[in-house]
Amino acid sequence: MQAAAAMTDQATPVREPVYQLRNVGKTYARNAITALEGVSMTLTKGSFSSVIGSSGCGKSTLLKIMSGLIPPSTGRVVLQGRPVTGPRRDIGMMFQQAVLFPWRTTLENIVLPIEIRDGKAAAKAAEVQARELLELVGLKGFENTYPSELSGGMAQRASICRMLITQPAVLLLDEPFSALDELTRDFMNMELQRICTSRGATAFLVTHSIQEAVILSDVVYVMKPRPGRVAEVVPIDLPRPRTLDMMTTPKFGALVEHIRSALDKEAFK
């Protein structure tokens, strides 16, 4: 555990830390399951990290703790110098399904976080930014469409806009594109990379896809189940910006193979 923490710190030593987790553990009181144990990591400003691991190894639990949705049982979570003790405005979160509300138009859905934070007038004023964001993700012209008329990929892009409208310092993504087909997914991942770079946002992605983790990340955390902990930290030193072509390079292949064997080892231990 200590080793893992040390490695994290070494991965990108020069940049300013945004998110710090120290020895985070979680035991669900209801069923006494230890979902997480001794997880330590440091996310630096503008970095992209992914966590990968078998089903049930505590990835969603980790994300919920980081976002302040549930408290950890042990350890310390600090975001931008302040401990996380509940939902925070500098955190943007995205879920596996696009959670759009069917009685609001796309635009109204996107300004919802502003409406909740600062009221209706502020939400009205934020529509300018919302339109810019929609253009950024290629949804121009769908401002007044209701979510039922959007495809799965379009709905996910709209959720990205909603996450970005509050200009959060970190983006927490729980398998955001796993419901999409592979082509759309690749496209969305490249979009995500572009958005993160252009905004200098720090991103943390939960995924089941090794390729997705490698192509997007600076660091990949490989998790081990029962209890969930970080087994290996794999720095990805592919050049940026990443392109889909890189997926055919030997270096990419080697990294994927490395993570796959690490996962295999953990899965059958």
Partner: protein, 288 residues
Amino acid sequence: MSNLETIADRSPAAEDDTVWTEHSSWIDRVPRAIQMLFVFVVFVLLWDTVTRFGFVSPIILPTPLETFNDLIFVGKNLVTGGYMLPALWITLKEVFYGFLLAIAIGFTLGVIVGETAFGERAIMPYLVAIDTMPKVAFAPLFVAWLGFDIDSKVALAAFIATFPIIVGTAAGLHAADTNSRNLFKTMGATRWQTLVKMKLPMALPQVFTGLKIGSVGVMAGAITGEFLGGGKGFGELIRTAASQLNTPRVFSLILYLSVIGLGLFAFVSWVQRRFVFWHKERVSAGGE
């Protein structure tokens, strides 16, 4: 590419369109209105046969023609402002106030029970217990408390219609999924904001289901109240006609009442389509 095209061109399948139609029974192609008319005609013919050849005494079951004539008579009486119009007006008032009261109480209790843990744990069991009682049996009590005027009928109508609205509202408030709840939490929404901007809109389809069931119950409540507690409403007209063995009148009065009930139900459905426009699929499918 060109190779493939040549092969495709030569194959016999490319020469003819394989257009075909799904076979459907001829009866499915008859317009709905005609199907409904058919059932109606068969029903009236059967009814006519049964009464015309004396299988059933005319006191028990009037002929269709008698009933039709009486429908015209009652209709004329209502349109020309005869003695039945004030009676109809009274019943309409009972239904209207009863429904308003049921909506106000039902919605409030539904929110308390559906939103607060205290309501769910401490109040819900009592509501369930009361709901299982035969509510009509309370009519004499309401008469004793509120008198023979419309108040006691309004109370009974509201009493019957309140429970489906409570259940619909409470169940609807539980309909919000974990992702939506988590999203509102991460946005830092207050409990009030979560209720007003997420849970209540999500509950609307079920609230309206409760309202529709309530709209049927409110009619039954008002008429039962009139049967058991007197007054000058439509229920009293039915009771009088029945005691005079004027069965055609009873039938036509019931038909007029059902038109009112249908109207109320249709009105609630119309409001639902206006406000829950985003829930189209299930609105049209679940016409109750």
